[in-house]
């Protein structure tokens, strides 16, 4: 195996995940929130890859393929919803869409 220790890979994935989470929590635009979600998904994918290469098993990569499929499906649904939201409310601001409170 190449010289990158697992800890570094996992740290990178954690950093990416936290960046994505901050994106989801901080951004108000739905599109940007979806993109941040993608970052979080990819961060988890990276963690699987790192773990897979550490133990020399293909399961990690298979898991990544699964996550990739899931992410594309999620983007499809998410973008569709975002489009619909925009048509209906003429905004993509998540904070403005708070009609279901209480």
């Amino acid at each position: 195996m190449s010289g990158i220790p697992m800890t570094h890979g996992l740290l990178l994935s954690v950093v990416l995940f936290v960046l994505g989470l901050i994106g989801v929590l901080a951004r108000r635009n739905l599109i940007m929130m979806l993109m941040s979600l993608e970052v979080m998904l990819n961060a988890t994918g990276l963690a699987f890859i790192v773990a897979g290469s550490r133990w020399g098993q293909a399961d990690g990569q298979i898991m990544f393929l699964l996550i990739l499929t899931l992410a594309s499906a999620e983007v499809g649904v998410g973008l569709g919803l975002a489009l619909h939201v925009f048509r209906r409310f003429h905004t993509l601001d998540a904070d403005a869409l708070n009609g279901m409170k209480g």
Binding site: A94, D95, L97, M100, K101
Partner: protein, 611 residues
């Protein structure tokens, strides 16, 4: 097939009539309503006549019929069972026979009423319940009928519910009889817990074999049953609902508040006479209450001006005679008087109804007068009815009252004297009514034509009231014969025969000297106060008003904001506060949800890590 097997259909037919009229009566045409309402009663009257004929021509062995089970819990079994002996046959004849005639009469009397279907639905319900009451072989089923007739009575007194006074009268009747019914129910519980059965015959057998006469248990049980009978039969001190019950239509007063329901108390005591024999003190109380009632109600009847209230007080008084008879152990005399009373009192009420009908709901006797020529049928009905009511010799009432008074004389001359005095008062008030309404200056009558449906019942009941004294229902097979010596033509018989004649003479003397009038010449001092006192039924209503109704109202007023309710209000507001707190976290902001999820995940991971 033996007719007895059809016994269950006797109460069932009126009930079917009730169901049909209650569910679809509003859509029926008037003739159809009358056919259903009267027809179902006619069918059960025919069945009752056939069953009774079979019973009386046969061996007259009591027999039962088990129609099914109502309740079955452990050893508590309440069968829907009917029991036929001479007593229930007599009651069956009264209820179906008089009931049928009154239904026929009502078909015409109520013809112009918009609530025609409702009226017959209630009447059929009442008939069904009354038949269950008299035929039941166990006390629980009897109690079902007992409450059923109470319900029917309530519905029919308040039949013209547009007038709040009628509703008040209905509620009064219901609540006052309920006082007695509660005691009766406690009595049933006592009998069941002590003797483990509801079956009346078995119960009476166990009462005589397991209990000792005069001890606490039989006395308590008998007293509780007596309270129930007092309420239903309008005896002192629970009598004041009956005069107000006259708010109902006149056929109702005839059927329920004269001929059948109010005699249910007499029937109950006669049915459970074995228990009363075991409690001599209570049995004496029955006689004393009867004597007291017949005198007080008689005095009240003397001064009433409403034709129906006179008859109502006379009903209370006559039931007092029946209680007197029960109290002195003359069981069959009591039932005989019940039978005869049903005939002549129904006749009097129906004749009064005819007068009221022709005067367009005028009740005041001093606004009537001279109707002898205009309404001969009503006049003769009233003459026969009043003669039987006051027990003039050779009318039916004479025979029954004679039996009662001679039995009372055997028990105690004091009771006999009260009975004779009552008979004299009866003579005065019944002929006062006849003289004022049918003699004197003629009043213009609005309408005098009576349909055949009103005439036939009057004629038949008149015949029964005249000749009913010859009926012999062999009640000795049910009751023990306590006295056997016959009074010949002695002082007692003379007293019994003379008392009503004296009453009649006094009434005639008062009338022809002009002392019966709306403005009585006795309108001064003591006489006036006595008059008002009697008129208001001996102030019983005022007494209850002051001692029961007003304190109750005061308590209700004090506790208007129900104390107990505050606990529930606190519980409800606690729930609402919790809902508001939890609901506040539901902001609708998606980023808020995401942050709380993230925070939650961090907390859970931290807990997992640290532990």
């Amino acid at each position: 097939m033996k007719m007895i097997e059809l016994l269950g259909w006797v109460p069932l037919f009126p009930f079917l009539g009730f169901l049909m009229l209650a569910l679809a009566g509003e859509r029926f045409s008037k003739p159809l309503i009358a056919w259903v309402g009267v027809g179902t009663v006619a069918v059960s009257a025919c069945l009752a006549a056939l069953i009774g004929a079979e019973f009386l021509t046969g061996t007259m062995e009591p027999c039962g019929l088990l129609a099914g089970y109502w309740l079955e819990v452990d050893d508590l079994v309440a069968p829907i069972g009917f029991y036929l002996d001479a007593l229930s046959v007599a009651m069956l004849f009264v209820v179906t026979g008089v009931g049928l005639l009154i239904h026929v009469y009502a078909a015409e009397f109520m013809a112009s009423d918009p609530g025609y279907a409702r009226f017959f639905a209630y009447m059929n319900l009442f008939m069904s319940a009354m038949l269950v009451l008299v035929l039941a072989d166990n006390l629980l089923l009897l109690y079902l009928g007992w409450e059923g007739v109470g319900l029917g009575s309530y519905l029919l007194i308040g039949f013209w519910h547009q007038d709040p006074n009628n509703g008040y009268a209905a509620r009064k009747a219901f609540v006052m009889t309920r006082v007695g019914d509660t005691a009766l129910l406690i009595g049933l519980f006592l009998l069941f817990t002590q003797l483990h059965t509801f079956d009346i015959q078995l119960l009476m057998l166990r009462v005589t074999s397991q209990w000792v006469a005069g001890e606490l248990l039989p006395v308590t049980a008998a007293a509780l049953l007596l309270c129930g009978a007092l309420g239903k039969s309008a005896q002192v001190p629970l009598q004041s609902w009956l005069p107000d019950a006259m708010a109902g239509p006149t056929p109702v007063s005839a059927l329920i508040h004269a001929a059948t329901m109010v005699t249910a108390g007499v029937y109950l005591i006669a049915r459970t006479h074995a228990l009363f024999i075991m409690a001599p003190s209570v049995q004496f109380a029955v006689a004393a209450i009867g004597a007291l009632t017949l005198l007080t109600a008689g005095c009240s009847a003397l001064v009433q001006t409403d034709i129906k209230r006179i008859l109502a007080y006379s009903t209370i008084s006559q039931i007092g005679y029946m209680f007197l008879a029960l109290g002195v152990g003359a069981w069959s005399a009591a039932i005989f008087h019940l039978l005869i009373h049903a005939f002549f009192k129904a006749l009097l009420f129906l004749a009064a109804g005819a007068v009221i009908f022709c005067f367009h709901h005028q009740h005041d006797i001093f606004r009537m007068g001279g109707l002898r020529k205009a309404m001969p049928l009503a006049f003769w009905s009233f003459m026969i009815g009043s003669a039987a009511l006051s027990a003039l010799p050779f009318t039916s009432g004479f025979y029954s009252k004679h039996e009662i008074l001679s039995a009372a004389f055997d028990a105690s001359p004091g009771l006999w004297a009260a009975g004779c005095l009552g008979a004299m008062i009866t003579g005065i008030y019944s002929f006062r009514l006849v003289f004022v309404v049918f003699f004197g200056k003629e009043c213009p009558v609005i309408e005098t034509r009576l349909d055949w449906r009103m005439r036939v019942p009057l004629i038949l009941l008149g015949a029964l009231a005249l000749f009913g004294g010859m009926l012999k229902i062999p009640l000795d097979s049910v009751f023990p014969v306590l006295f056997d010596h016959e009074h010949g033509f002695d002082a007692v018989a003379v007293g019994t025969a003379a008392a009503p004649l004296i009453g009649l003479s006094i009434a005639a003397w008062f009338y022809f000297t002009g002392r019966f009038s709306a403005q009585s010449p006795a309108d001064s001092g003591l006489a006036r106060r006595m008059r008002i006192f009697f008129f208001n039924g001996w102030g019983i209503d005022a007494l209850y008003g002051a001692w029961v109704v007003r304190p109750f109202k005061t308590i209700a007023e004090l506790n208007k904001n129900d104390v107990l309710e505050h606990a529930y209000i606190a519980l409800a507001s606690l729930c609402r506060a919790g809902q508001r707190m939890v609901g506040a976290t539901q902001t609708g902001n998606i980023r808020w949800y995401a942050s709380s999820m993230a925070l939650g995940a961090v907390v859970i991971i931290a807990i997992g890590w640290l532990s």
